[in-house]
Symmetry: C2
Subunit: 208 residues, 2 copies
């Protein structure tokens, strides 16, 4: 009996909130998908194990990562307790492992495959927490590159909240509360009017 860690790694790809899953290449639950996770190494901290897993699967570090909940008996698994974390990453900064065994892949949260070890519960809880924290913190900073347009940010919010947001109100809120600020620059898209680029006032967790 020991302690295990799992990480719910979210990103927004093509306007879809997605989560990183690993295809299991050995029993138990061979062939099913599961959240990245594993047992603590000797002497390793919980947080350190979560950071390690996140880095192993996506190559990223220094992103939003927070403890979520501690489960026991997850899928009658081998672990006495499973400490879950959730993380937010910018999909463009990630580099997934390419092996065919234990292959990681992004899955839209709206269409998850069958998961091993009751991982649905973990994902669902993480998703709720994400929706809540999005409303009163700046955690979205971890989902976008340094500079982005307000439309891009809004798309991220809409993907996570699952509903359309009014452009003007969104701007007022996100700028007014000091979540983001204008950089001087603009970006020229293809066939569109150039757009002002914004940046987060702080690229670390803060409560508003």
């Amino acid at each position: 009996m020991a302690v295990a860690v799992v990480v719910v790694i979210f990103t927004v790809r093509d306007g879809e909130l997605s989560v990183l899953l690993i295809e299991r290449s050995a029993p138990p639950c061979e062939g099913e998908w599961a959240l990245p996770g594993g047992f603590l190494r000797p002497g390793e901290t919980l947080q350190a194990a979560a950071v390690r897993k996140l880095h192993e699967e996506t190559g990223v570090a220094d992103v939003f990562l927070e403890q979520l909940y501690t489960f026991d008996r997850l899928g009658a698994g081998a672990a006495e307790a499973v400490v879950s974390y959730f993380a937010l990453v910018d999909v463009h900064r990630t580099r997934l492992r390419e092996e065919l065994e234990w292959r990681p892949a992004w899955h839209a949260v709206r269409a998850l495959p069958k998961l091993a070890f009751e991982n649905e519960r973990v994902v669902e809880l993480a998703r709720e927490r994400l929706r809540n924290k999005l409303e009163y913190t700046n955690i979205a900073y971890s989902l976008l590159p340094e500079r982005f347009t307000l439309s891009e940010l809004q798309q991220v919010y809409e993907a996570i909240l699952g509903e359309a947001i009014d452009k003007r109100n969104f701007r007022k809120r996100v700028v007014g509360l000091g979540i983001v600020r204008e950089t001087g620059e603009v970006r020229k898209h293809g066939a569109h009017r150039p757009a002002m680029l914004y940046e987060f006032t702080r690229r670390e967790p803060m409560v508003l």
Copy 2:
């Protein structure tokens, strides 16, 4: 290495937010105070262990109890992971154990003794969470008897939040949001005007 559970049990006594501590009667940290807790029994669930601890120390069951956070290396202790819970009880329903060894006692949060195993961190976190949840849930239901006056409820809120609240605004909020409702009854105090008795609309956790 194993998993341990600790429970931060809050109550409000004499207008002071207080927490239940146990005086340690054996090493390590003999003579210091610590939160009630211990290792999981074989086959026992985390939640079940927390419920058990709560019941052992206070005799109460069926109160608000929620997982708080999972620590590791708490005080360089023996546990690989320490899963903390926090609970709210009505002090008048509790019956503390009377033994002199491992004696439990209420301590005002504003004047804690030195705690073992870095339990200060746990208490502080629980306190923050309590303050936050008080604002947007009905968790106070667990701190008062079935029927109570609005003044009593307000005193509980003030003790937890640490600041005075306007009587009229408090009434509007707590009745208006449907946290409590009037019973028909009044209570006659000593030398005062009789007071309307209220009850919580639900004596279980709900988000407002």
